[in-house]
Structure formats: structure tokens, C-alpha cells
């Protein structure tokens, strides 16, 4: 395997086009994700942000008629190469969805351990430590440490979402994909998740899809603006929001459309 051209670069898409059957939802997007940064994807509904995100861990190909052209490089290696096992790959890239998705039949502990156990048998103490570590990083440990064996459904919506973050973190992924993680949360829950983004980027490379422009401005280092499947503009967040170079971007962030 060739060493990555730039060690600071974790993830890169090269001319990525994502299709549903014959309809392209993401068109020819080349985007770079530097290591340990937060990149926000913004744009109006249906602009292809979520589809783009789902290409990064090969979830898109599970959708009806989903396929891609182009490349996605993780540490310089094309994840769509035939030699790559998509299932193993997904263990290196954590994902959190719009709505909390705890497994209803599992306890809090088992939910967090789910991604570890799928990798095969590990000593109990190792799993214990990994679960605690993941819950601490997701800022949930103190709230659940006394009821790890209780059903995950007993948690509030915001706690469930942080549980899903912990579940995604437990297998120690390199990249964390967040698909509108605060869409179903109240302001307090939203704030917790945003704070998490700041803490987690010291260890992970994060890509977050959001409809909330303030949120993008608060949590991200880079912001990418998508429109109708095209990547319109990408830049450092403070620059994109203060002096966008494209008129479409300016129109969107000032609320004139979208």
C-alpha cells in the first residue's frame, strides 16, 4: 500500500459521483478532509449532502440502485477497491444518524459493546474498558454508569443520541460521520452534541451534515456548500460564512433561498 501523500490528509474524495439508478445525486465532487478536523456539509434539502456522507462508509451502495463512480481515499487507500471488504471498512468509520437508533432489545452496555463484539471474542475486561472509554468520550458515562444493564430505551432522546455516538466510537474508528445528529434533539441536547464535536476532533476526523447554519459555524473548521448535487464551495468555515466567493453560497447563508 502506498503511503499517503500527505499524512495530514485523512479522507479524500476524487471526482465522486453518486447515483441512484441513472439519476446522479452527487456530481463529480472532490473534497479533502484533513486529519482531526470537523468538516460541515450544508445546503438545502435534497442537495446530496446525506448521499455524499453515505458514500464515505459505503452505505450508499446498500440503497436501492445505489452506485458510484470516482474514488474515496481513506489514508490514501481507495475504499471502493475490490480488495476492500465493505463490512470491515465500516468498522473503521463510525456513523450517527438523524434519529437516535439504540438497539431496543439490548442494554446500554450491550449497545455500546455491539460494534466491538462483531469483531469476534475479546476478553471481558477489554470490552468493559472500551465501553467505559466510549461512554466517557460521548459524555454519557456519569449519567449511565449505575444502570449499564438497563434498557437503552429508558434514556432520553439526547442521551440516546450520545449513546449512539458512544456506540460508534467504541470500535475506535478513524472517522466519524454525523448525519444531522441534532435534528431530533432539544436545544440542550443539541448543545451537548456540539460540545462533543469539539472534544472528539482531537482524536477523530469528523464530517457532519447539518441544516443549521449556526451549528455549522459553531462546530466546524471547514464548511462545504452543496447545491443540487454539486459542490458549490468549500473553505475555512469563518471565511465561507464571512466572505463567500460564490453568489449561490452567499444567497444561501444569508437566507435568500433554500
Amino acid at each position: 500500500m502506498a503511503p499517503p501523500a500527505d499524512a495530514r490528509l485523512q479522507l479524500e474524495t476524487v471526482r465522486l459521483t453518486a447515483l441512484y439508478g441513472r439519476r446522479a445525486a452527487v456530481k463529480d465532487v472532490s473534497l479533502m478532509f484533513p486529519r482531526h478536523t470537523v468538516t460541515a456539509l450544508i445546503g438545502p434539502s435534497g442537495c446530496g449532502k446525506t448521499t455524499f456522507l453515505r458514500c464515505l462508509n459505503r452505505m450508499h451502495e446498500l440503497s436501492e440502485g445505489g452506485w458510484i463512480t470516482g474514488k474515496v481515499l481513506l489514508d490514501g487507500e481507495d475504499i471502493y477497491d475490490p480488495s476492500i471488504d465493505a463490512i470491515r471498512l465500516r468498522r473503521r468509520i463510525g456513523m450517527v444518524f438523524q434519529r437516535p437508533t439504540p438497539f431496543p432489545t439490548m442494554s446500554i452496555y450491550d449497545n455500546v459493546a455491539a460494534g466491538l463484539r462483531v469483531n469476534g471474542g475479546r476478553p471481558r475486561t477489554e470490552v468493559d474498558a472500551a465501553v467505559e472509554g466510549a461512554l466517557r468520550r460521548a459524555a454519557l458515562w456519569d449519567e449511565v454508569k449505575d444502570r449499564l444493564r438497563h434498557s437503552a430505551l429508558a434514556l432520553s432522546g439526547g442521551q440516546q443520541q450520545r449513546l449512539c455516538v458512544a456506540r460508534a466510537l467504541a470500535p475506535e474508528p478513524d472517522v466519524l460521520l454525523l448525519d444531522e445528529p441534532t435534528a431530533s434533539l432539544d436545544p440542550a441536547g443539541t448543545q451537548r452534541i456540539e460540545e462533543l464535536c469539539h472534544e472528539l476532533k482531537t482524536r477523530y476526523t469528523i464530517c457532519i451534515v447539518t441544516h443549521n447554519l449556526q451549528q455549522a459555524a459553531r462546530v466546524s473548521d471547514y464548511t462545504a456548500f452543496f447545491y443540487l448535487g454539486d459542490l458549490v464551495e468549500i473553505g475555512r468555515t469563518e471565511e465561507l460564512f464571512t466572505k463567500p466567493t460564490k453568489e449561490q453560497t452567499e444567497a444561501y447563508i444569508t437566507g435568500r433561498f433554500g
Partner: protein
């Protein structure tokens, strides 16, 4: 304004009353059947009824011990054969059954579901009883299993389809292989529904008589050999109820009550089991 509100209240009240009456009618039928069974059969129930075998016609006393054991064996064996096939088929239909094969399986299951049970009995007679040369409990179990499979397959499929798509995605995004997602997450989430479906299936075939008439045949003696003819409660009820003796009629009522009791016990046990499972995670 208030006229409209009045109208709304009247319609709402009338509809509520209507559905209440309809549910009452539905429950009434069940209560009447149960009550009648208890009234007619309870007086014949004693230890002897459960512990003794039938006595020759004309004699008083005797019990249905052989039929109770026979029912448990035949239905148990049918469940052993039918549950894995039925649940497996249901999982297949829900998870992989979007293609042509799935369509065919679904169609066959629906046709089988509507097949009269006596036809299934003839099928078992042709393929098992005749080649073996004699009636057997095994042939009865196979006939009941054939009745169970399409029912279980469709119920399991429905229950699995009720599991939200987002859970499947969450498991796949964690790096679960597809089969493991199906078993560990989807099937487990749908478990309560699947178990209920199994129970309904078992309870339904426990009362079947027609497919057993020329497979398990019935047996006046106590037998636990699945290769020999065996008595079941439903067969016993059929023989006693259509017989000429008052004593037999009395026993038929009691046997019907016992059969009903067994089915009731089964569903209570499963409900309890499900609650235990879910309670453990709470």
C-alpha cells in the same frame, strides 16, 4: 358553531357506542364458549380423568391420559419441524424476498394458508402413511407442521417488516454483516411478535382434527411411539362427541375443556417468557 360542536359530539358518541357494542359481541362469543365448556365439562374433571386411559364403551369412568400425552407429543413434534422452517422462511421473505423467488414463495404460502386442513391430511396419508404401511403419530405431526409453516412464515415476515429501517442501517454502519444484522438486531427486535405468531400457530394446529383422522388415526391405549398410531384430544373429542353414549358425550365436554385449558396455558407461558426477557434488560 355550537350546533356543529353538538353534531360532532353526537357522532363521536354514537361511533364510540357502536365499537363498544361490537367488541362486546366479539368477547361474548368467547365467554359463552368458555362458560358452556366449563358448565358441561368441569364436573367430569377429576384426577382419574387426567391419569387414566379410556375404558371400553359402556363402562363408567376412564380418562384421557393417553390423549393428553399424545397431543403434547404430536403438537410438540409438529412445532419442532414447523417452527424452524416457518420462521426461517419468514426471515428470508422479509430480508431477501424482494425477487422472483420471494414472490413465488409468498404466493405458495398464501395458497397453502387457504388449503383446507383435510387436504393436507390426504397429502400426509399419500406420502407417509401409505409408503410406511401403517398410521403413525409422525405422519400426523408432519401434516400439522405443513399447516403451520405458511402461517408462521407470513406472520414472521410481517413482524420483521415492522422493525424500523433505521435500526438495520445502524447495525450495518457498525460493520455488522447482513446475516448478523438479520439475526442479532432485526429478529431479536421482532421476537415478541414472532413468538406470539408461533403461539397462535401452535394453538391453531393443536385443535386440528381432520388432518389427524387418517394419519395419527387415534389409539385407545397409551402410546408414546411416534411410529405407531396415537390418540390426541381433538380425535378423542371427535370420537366421543359423535358416539352414541351419554358417558362419551360427558367425556367429550371434559376433553374439550382440557384442550382449551392447554392452549390457554401455552399462551400464558409465552407471554410470561417474553416479559421475563424484556424485564431483564430494564
Amino acid at each position: 358553531m355550537s350546533a356543529r360542536r353538538l353534531r360532532r359530539r353526537i357522532v363521536s358518541g354514537a361511533m364510540t357506542a357502536l365499537v363498544a357494542v361490537l367488541s362486546f359481541v366479539a368477547v361474548l362469543a368467547l365467554v359463552l364458549i368458555l362458560g358452556y365448556l366449563v358448565a358441561k365439562g368441569a364436573s367430569s374433571l377429576d384426577w382419574g380423568f387426567f391419569l387414566k386411559n379410556p375404558v371400553p364403551a359402556g363402562q363408567a369412568g376412564g380418562g384421557v391420559a393417553n390423549a393428553i400425552v399424545g397431543t403434547v407429543i404430536i403438537v410438540g413434534l409438529a412445532a419442532l419441524i414447523g417452527l424452524p422452517i416457518g420462521i426461517g422462511t419468514g426471515l428470508y421473505l422479509a430480508e431477501y424476498g424482494s425477487g422472483r423467488l420471494g414472490w413465488i414463495v409468498r404466493f405458495v404460502a398464501d395458497v397453502l394458508n387457504g388449503t383446507p386442513s383435510i387436504v393436507v391430511g390426504i397429502f400426509a396419508w399419500t406420502w407417509l402413511v401409505r409408503p410406511m404401511g401403517h398410521f403413525s403419530a409422525l405422519a400426523g405431526s408432519v401434516a400439522l407442521a405443513v399447516l403451520m409453516v405458511p402461517m408462521l412464515a407470513r406472520t414472521t415476515e410481517e413482524m420483521v417488516r415492522l422493525v424500523p429501517h433505521s435500526l438495520r442501517e445502524a447495525a450495518l454502519a457498525l460493520g455488522y454483516p447482513r446475516w448478523r444484522t438479520s439475526l442479532r438486531v432485526i429478529a431479536r427486535t421482532a421476537l415478541a411478535g414472532i413468538v406470539t405468531g408461533c403461539l397462535v400457530g401452535i394453538a391453531r394446529v393443536a385443535g386440528e382434527t381432520a388432518p389427524l383422522l387418517f394419519t395419527a388415526l387415534g389409539n385407545l391405549n397409551f402410546s408414546t411411539s411416534v411410529l405407531q398410531p396415537m390418540q390426541t384430544l381433538s380425535l378423542q373429542i371427535y370420537v366421543y362427541a359423535t358416539g352414541p353414549f351419554d358417558e362419551w358425550h360427558r367425556l367429550a365436554w371434559a376433553a374439550a375443556l382440557v384442550l382449551m385449558g392447554l392452549v390457554l396455558l401455552l399462551s400464558l407461558a409465552a407471554r410470561w417468557a417474553i416479559r421475563q426477557r424484556h424485564g431483564a434488560a430494564r
